[in-house]
Symmetry: C2
Subunit: 177 residues, 2 copies
Amino acid sequence: MWVVKREKQVFVLRLGHRPFRDKRVTSHVGLVARAFGADGLVISVEDAAVSCSIGDVVERWGGDFSVSVEQDWRGYLKRWKGLVVHLTMYGLPLDDVISDVQSVTGDVLVVVGAEKVPPEVYKRADFNVAVGSQPHSEIAALALFLDRLFKGGGLRKDFEGKTRIIPSANGKFALSD
Amino acid sequence: MWVVKREKQVFVLRLGHRPFRDKRVTSHVGLVARAFGADGLVISVEDAAVSCSIGDVVERWGGDFSVSVEQDWRGYLKRWKGLVVHLTMYGLPLDDVISDVQSVTGDVLVVVGAEKVPPEVYKRADFNVAVGSQPHSEIAALALFLDRLFKGGGLRKDFEGKTRIIPSANGKFALSD
């Protein structure tokens, strides 16, 4: 019998999504998660617009990225067997803790909040990580965290999609199946 | 006479901002520009909500970040004397070109689009840079570009604001003047 070693899987849990206000920001969170090498987005509030916009990108641009809804996010966090990393500007500096995060084997759940995140999340997290201690954007924080986690390799992932860009110095070139 | 060597200044030009649709995304672009070490945001369409939300952060959290409006963004691009870097997923990979960008002395204007960016911007840019060739977010692209440009130093900038966070493993601590 062959035992295939499963690679580390990384999921992003988006808390506190408010459909009217956060549609575009949560879509960006999902697209960044996919583009920088994560395996799926979990949102705690159903929003067809977010699922569809990310689903359309996956259909056209490739990869196995999933979007799922977990209304009982507290139960989901409780059941999660891997590492929990909460991105918050109040946490410890990214560059100080990333090697500790990398050294833990198993899957990683990255938690990013929209509105105020309840104190229990700070306690449940194995790491509260600050991508800078200044207010900016959960989208940027997620991108930087995944970039460091995968040592810059997330951006070089090959998605083998129907559409692929041919990098160019000053034009727009893409191939489509 | 002493000649004081002025450090490289970096501004971000946000094109195609649509006030109703892009308010939050453009605010995130501005806050990321500030937090990752840029000196100012230039928007081509006036939007008091964006200027105020970024202004409030500067007032409380410190730094010299500016927000200005240049409706004639074509003229602004024409008059810009430093380097122009346009972030687009159709460009050349970030990690392939960043050392060339760093090696050029003088100020840098980073252009990030909202809606479709006109072909003339691709032509005017000294570098069209792709932060990954997958669709994701101009917020994430800007964060990664500035992080690489400043070799990770942007995140360590000290803003000396009225409010400062004390990094913590699992709590929320801040000092306020």
